[in-house]
Symmetry: C3
Subunit: 149 residues, 3 copies
Amino acid sequence: MSQVVRATESQVTGDLYAEVRTFYARQMRRVDALDIEGFAATFTEDGEVLHANGELAKGREAMVAGMRAALPRYRDIAVRHWFDHLLIEPVDRQGAELRVSYYSLVTRTDRAGVVTFEPTFTVEDVLVRRDGRLLTQSRVIHRDSPVAL
Amino acid sequence: MSQVVRATESQVTGDLYAEVRTFYARQMRRVDALDIEGFAATFTEDGEVLHANGELAKGREAMVAGMRAALPRYRDIAVRHWFDHLLIEPVDRQGAELRVSYYSLVTRTDRAGVVTFEPTFTVEDVLVRRDGRLLTQSRVIHRDSPVAL
Amino acid sequence: MSQVVRATESQVTGDLYAEVRTFYARQMRRVDALDIEGFAATFTEDGEVLHANGELAKGREAMVAGMRAALPRYRDIAVRHWFDHLLIEPVDRQGAELRVSYYSLVTRTDRAGVVTFEPTFTVEDVLVRRDGRLLTQSRVIHRDSPVAL
């Protein structure tokens, strides 16, 4: 947690907050629509995703292949990713690179309207600005696990 | 999805983002409090809601009548509407009209504290500014359904 | 509801909205990590929490003691607090004191990945600014209950 809860806390402007939330609103519509190519296009060409199970998809092509292989999991299911508690940390002064972490809840609604849930996750992204637009450069997905008491 | 994910993406200011989220925070408190008249007052006089089942409520009066008829569904239930992934698109330069879409999750908590869920929805609103304040002019509610594979 | 839905509605700036959301993003990471001292440190020294069951924790020390006693509830459970529909109301012009209310959903994910839910809550906070940073001065947690019809 030391990474995301610092003693010196940089303030995020309202404009940047709105921009990042809008970026994810678009990115999640694409993944939830199973628009695999459209989703991959919200990453940099060399973007990567480290899944909670340890699998690493490196580059858009690998990402597309991995998601295509996973498609059968979404047969007859409307999946939706819900985010909360975004922490946005500009890495540089220009805001060309951002570290963003957030909670994620995933719902699966079947044709009968019954909703089930995947385990909750915490996600750590690096976003970069290319030609003025944000793209995901890397994503690390952590499955939430109990704290040792 | 082409409506909400455009090639040319207008930026939403932080102020507008906060204003729209605050508008919905107030509107949802009213609907979840079953304050039917108060909820209807957050729509324009001729405002309309197209429900996921195809039913259209046209104008505040019809809205109020429809909600009153549905009240028995909320007996002994605390309902809460949760929103996420708002996409806010100003239709004009003055921000007098906004297209807003968002995810919606609906919880129903009974007296014993047991939470159940309605199917997830995606909602498309048109908001307009009247005397400086936002009102909903139209709402189309889509029940989320599986993508054809 | 009259407290949070006023006829005259003050506008919240995007910057303040982002600041408050970021404050909660940090505070919730701490409570969900069971970082009790870190969580208590996001309250003023004399801060208090009135729980939904009527229990009052007054001051950081009482807060820490109460949370420590409750720890066994989180054995083998990853808890996450989800917020929505924040209403932020500056009490003064300087923004040194804010009234904030929000919806809260609490997930509990067990080691097998099964998600269960606590009843939904609505929370009313008073936040104050100390040395430029926000702290919670008081929190009142309401368990959501059905509206009398």
